[in-house]
Symmetry: C2
Subunit: 203 residues, 2 copies
């Protein structure tokens, strides 16, 4: 049984630079870069104009990239008080745009992403960028760091989705072996349906 | 010279309860209630579904109330860390909805609103609610407090707009007395244009 490819768009939210990056892949196979970039808004524009510009940029990406899921960095109030409000507002726009289309939205913390990509939840930006470059077989590290971080989010999500897929596969096998409708299979089938991309449960 | 009436919609942002309130008036004249209410979203819904529901509620209000301007509470990262992220995200949706329509958006801090309504920047919710009830000549205090706070924001904005109008009037009179194009008149004319509702500068 083959787990289907998943196309994930990652969003590293910010008002001045909102990193966007899309990858395609499945666990255990080489990942492919779909697109990477940044939406920028001028720091001296009004907040309303900035949010409208970010919405337009993300909508265009969603139209053109057509992701199966969107992964957004989870923002915490406790770190970097000066910029956290803008980050929260940009993340709200990204979550809103994806949810309006019925796309599944996943929130991953920075340390979850770092741990998934580098093996360490406290890795620095250089290390994350190096691993993103290697995993996607790129010639150079994506710039700025916000763009590389968006790709790291997307990769993290492909792999975490993959972990769910493997659990779903295991449940499907268990169900096939023990007869129809074990509760574990129903549980994972339910989770797969919610996530919108775990299509490995049918026997 | 008569300052035109201004219809302002206030938004007290929140995910669980987003207070909405619209008033109409001008400084020095009785204010009128246009509408008051709350958009609620279930705390156990996903963040994406909640933001989509808040957007739909605000869009419906903007369609039906047709305000001249929108006043949103300015959110600070330092107070109430537990709920501040949700508040920031709900405020982003309100600012986005208004700005997409080209409506002027004003952000007022809680203490600016309290000072405008009660004379004290440290007034409590009961005092703000009492003054909102009195100023709008209502039979009872609007419930919940989020709804009353949204009306207080709208009232604050009518009066601040009004203060700008009076300055503009004074500048226009000074210009008429001293000949064309004093710098003060140009300054206030410019401000009136930015705010989008200060129409008292022509002589």
């Amino acid at each position: 049984m083959r787990v289907p490819e998943l196309r994930v768009m990652g969003v590293d939210p910010g008002l001045t630079r909102c990193g966007l990056g899309a990858v395609e892949g499945r666990p255990g196979a080489p990942l492919n870069l779909v697109r990477v970039g940044v939406v920028r808004t001028p720091a001296d524009d009004e907040i309303g104009a900035r949010l409208v510009a970010i919405e337009a940029g993300i909508e265009q990406w969603l139209d053109e990239v057509e992701p199966d899921a969107v992964a957004v960095e989870r923002v915490f109030a406790q770190h970097n008080l000066r910029t956290v409000m803008g980050t929260a507002q940009a993340s709200a726009v990204a979550i809103l745009c994806a949810s309006r289309r019925g796309l599944p939205v996943a929130l991953h913390t920075p340390s979850e992403v770092k741990a998934a990509i580098t093996g360490s939840g406290t890795a620095d930006k250089q290390q994350v960028g190096t691993m993103v470059t290697r995993l996607l077989r790129l010639d150079a590290m994506p710039k700025p760091a916000d763009a590389a971080d968006a790709l790291a989010l997307a990769i993290c999500h492909v792999w975490r989705g993959g972990a769910q897929n493997r659990l779903a596969e295991a449940a499907a096998k268990a169900r096939a072996a023990s007869g129809p409708r074990t509760s574990a299979a129903a549980y994972f089938r339910g989770r797969g349906g919610t996530a919108g991309y775990s299509r490995g449960t049918s026997t």
